[in-house]
């Protein structure tokens, strides 16, 4: 018994110690066999083949001089059906033993005797509660009787084998799982690390190394390796965090840091850790992960840059940049809004642009809003927008939709510009063009009318000259009167032409250059007297013009030349249109701010309907057909009096007379 127990003990040791199941079983059965003076110790394994449960002779230990049957075909692939008794016993976890010759299974006896077995003991092996196989012990020398204790102990060994087999199965499963786990782990972007605080031993995973560009065998699995590869700006803080966490001062260890890649650049890594404590609560180990977030970091950076760019443009442009929710309300308004429309961005957010658009332009906006949902962008819009001060400005807007994932409309973006100036300018230009056109028309009219005015005098001169020729051939030419008549006509026309020419020159000069004023101080009364003396002292009918002065004399600052034109023209008219009537009068009235001059004649007057045309170029009233005139006189007077900042008013009644009222300011 002692031997047996020793043998069993050895066998168990083997079972426990040996890594390989084969080694364990072989050594196990060898130990038992040796200790029991058994001739053969072997293990049969059950396998189901084609639905039939069969035996396989898998392990064997033979004593010296005993034949080995390992690999023997008779013992491999034998069906249990041939040994029903064997099966029945063993499957109930009961040992089977006895003398071979006493068995009633003929085949059994044959098989056993073939092997020279006289006495046998079979103990079943169960693994995971299933009939796995059995150990057999052969005695080939004697017809040994097995003692119950022996049987029990040997049965225990079989049980231990069963346990050992279980373990292996479990281990195998575990190994399998571990393999899978390892596979998935490698495929992920997570790296694992472990740091034994006590021994300073560290373990890094395949991915941990791969993240920074190394193969596992290229790196030192040490704390120092990790430390020296963390970015110098971060390592101090990280180590501090780690210490604080381990010491329990903080309750987590995680964050981001940069680790130096094999190639020299830095990668962003998100790290986290978990402290493992022993039974008494002392930290013994830290395990953790590294996740490569470089891509994320880069994407963040790009987004930041892009946001920066957008902000810069939006905040520095003179246009108004706005973003809108799908319903049109403002979601973003650039700073330029204060300058352009008087509102600060915050005053507009969530409000609807429709509240600010001119009622006449609302329909345009609504149409555009609909169109953009279909077409994703629209042609530039022009509309009026109400500023904070309630005035309207014209704006031009370009709008596009904002797409998410290239499909979904999540809003709209607009760039708007104040085009009020542009519109104003365009309108001004249009008006200027119109004016210029009018002016050109007037000018060409003037020219055509002026040249027309020359024709008649010229015709008269020419025809009269011809008349002279005719008459010279006839008797009548000798009559001095008829010659005089003709020559008078000619002289008259030449005078008329001269006046016309002069007036046109004056008028034309005014039109092209604008007459420049030459302001001097004058004594108006004295001035008037001089004019009358110079031009109107010798009227053909001997008439004079009577001058009256009223009011307190004051000095006048004005342009002499212009005044001469004005006065001579008006006085000349007074005489011209009152032939054979009373003498004209001139009244000077010194008022507070200005001089009032009235030139009164008692002549033919001006027909009522024609008064409105009085200052029109080349206009001659219908009652003047017998009186020579250029039609330009009053036109020039009006322009000149305007130049002097004065006024002219004409009062008249046909056949009674005409009064021309001039007002000239002192300055």
């Amino acid at each position: 018994m002692k031997n047996l127990l020793l043998g069993i003990s050895n066998a168990n040791n083997h079972l426990l110690k040996e890594n390989s199941i084969d080694d364990a079983l072989n050594l196990c059965i060898a130990s038992i066999g040796k200790s029991q003076e058994i001739d053969r110790c072997y293990i049969f394994k059950n396998e189901t083949e084609d639905g039939i449960l069969k035996l396989y002779y898998v392990y064997e230990w033979c004593n010296e001089g005993v034949d080995s049957f390992l690999g023997s075909p008779e013992l491999n692939g034998v069906s249990y059906d041939d040994f029903p008794g064997l099966y029945k016993t063993l499957v109930n976890d009961e040992p089977l033993y006895g003398l071979v010759k006493e068995s009633d299974n003929k085949l059994f006896v044959e098989t056993m005797e073939m092997q020279g077995i006289k006495s046998y003991l079979f103990t079943p092996i169960f693994s995971e509660n299933k009939f796995w196989g059995w150990i057999g012990y052969d005695d080939c020398k004697t017809e040994r009787i097995w003692i119950e204790e022996e049987v029990n102990v040997l049965h225990t060994v079989a049980k231990n084998i069963g346990i050992r087999l279980n373990q292996d199965k479990t281990n195998a499963k575990l190994e399998n799982h571990l393999e899978q786990f390892d596979f998935y782990l490698k495929g992920s972007n997570q790296g694992m690390w472990e740091w034994d605080i006590i021994t300073n031993k560290t373990v890094f995973s395949y991915n941990w190394a791969g993240m920074i560009g190394y193969n596992l065998d290229e790196i030192e699995q040490t704390y120092e390796f990790w430390k020296k590869n963390v970015h110098p700006d971060e390592i101090n803080q990280i180590e501090l965090d780690l210490m604080n966490y381990i010491q329990g001062k903080t309750d987590s260890y995680d964050g981001v840091m940069r680790m130096k890649h094999k190639k020299g650049h830095y990668v962003w890594v998100k790290h986290s850790g978990l402290v493992i404590k022993n039974i008494v609560g002392e930290p013994i180990k830290v395990i953790g992960t590294h996740i490569d977030i470089s891509e994320i970091k880069e994407a963040e950076r790009q987004l930041e840059l892009s946001e920066e760019k957008f902000r810069f443009i939006a905040e520095n442009t003179t246009d108004l940049i706005t973003q809108h929710f799908n319903d049109g309300t403002f979601s973003y308004v650039s700073n330029s809004s204060k300058e352009i429309i008087g509102y600060k961005p915050e005053e507009l957010i969530y409000r609807s642009p429709y509240d600010f658009i001119h009622p006449d332009d609302l329909q345009i906006m609504q149409n555009a809003h609909q169109e953009i949902a279909e077409k994703l962008k629209i042609k530039p819009l022009t509309f009026r927008f109400r500023k904070k001060d309630n005035s309207y400005i014209w704006m031009e807007s370009v709008t596009k939709v904002i797409l998410k994932n290239k499909q979904q409309i999540i809003g709209m973006q607009s760039s708007s510009r104040d085009i009020s100036e542009m519109i104003k300018t365009a309108e001004e230009m249009r008006l200027n063009l119109l004016k210029e056109k009018e002016l050109n028309e007037l000018k060409s009219n003037f020219i055509s009318m002026a040249s027309h005015q020359f024709r008649t005098p010229l015709t008269i001169i020419y025809s009269n000259a011809e008349l002279l020729e005719i008459k010279s051939k006839m008797e009548e030419y000798k009559s001095a009167n008829s010659v005089k008549l003709i020559s008078n006509r000619i002289k008259n026309e030449v005078e008329r032409l001269t006046e016309l020419m002069n007036n046109i020159l004056i008028f034309g000069k005014y039109e092209s250059e604008g007459t420049k004023k030459n302001i001097k101080e004058l004594d108006f009364g004295h001035f008037i007297n001089k004019i009358i003396e110079t031009y109107f002292d010798n009227e053909p009918d001997g008439r004079k013009i009577r001058i009256t002065i009223k009011g307190k004399k004051q000095k006048l600052n004005s342009d002499e030349t212009l005044l001469i034109h004005i006065i001579t023209n008006v006085v000349s008219n007074a005489f011209k249109y009152s032939v054979n009537r009373k003498e004209p009068k001139l009244v000077i009235n010194y008022l507070k701010e200005k001089i009032k001059v009235e030139i009164i004649d008692y002549g033919i007057g001006i027909p009522n309907e024609e008064k409105q045309h009085l200052f029109t170029s080349f206009f001659r009233a219908t009652n003047t057909s017998t009186i020579v005139g250029s039609g330009l006189g009053l036109t020039i007077v009006k322009q000149f009096i305007n130049l002097l900042n004065g006024e002219i008013v004409v009062l008249s009644e046909e056949n009674i007379g005409t009064t021309v009222l001039l007002t000239i300011p002192y300055e």
Binding site: T456, I460, S463, T622
Partner: protein, 130 residues
């Protein structure tokens, strides 16, 4: 020989006098009017062999006067000549379209005027013959 009768319409009195003298010396009988209205009044009882009219006149201008003549059954056969003092191509074209075939522009030579008058009167005669 019967003197040919001319109705002269122009608002310039001196021109009327001058032309009357000239035409009278050349054996025409001349009546004058200062504008279209006056001319029409004269035409009520006197039919000339030719009417010569200025265009720019007050009260009734040459164009209007011409329209009135053409509208009159009695008067529209009378040859008509314009003094085209207004150098207006547009206006002239308008009249060419309407069939006023001849203009004479100021100033003119007496000779040319005579020729024109003769031609116009002769034309009428030939037309009348047919």
């Amino acid at each position: 020989m019967n003197k040919k009768k001319i109705l002269l319409v122009d608002d310039e009195i001196i021109l009327r006098d001058t032309l009357t003298d000239m035409l009278t010396l050349n054996n025409y009988s001349v009546l004058t009017a200062a504008n279209g209205e006056e001319a029409l009044a004269i035409l009520d009882d006197w039919i000339p062999d030719i009417i010569i009219s200025d265009i720019m006149m007050p009260v009734m201008d040459g164009y209007t006067f011409y329209e009135k003549i053409k509208d009159s059954v009695v008067l529209n056969q009378i040859p008509f000549v314009f003094f085209s003092a207004k150098n207006d191509k547009e206006a002239n074209d308008k009249f060419i379209q309407k069939g006023v075939e001849l203009f004479i522009s100021k100033p003119f030579k007496l000779e040319d005027l005579m020729l024109l008058i003769d031609m116009k009167i002769k034309k009428l005669k030939t037309n009348k013959k047919h």
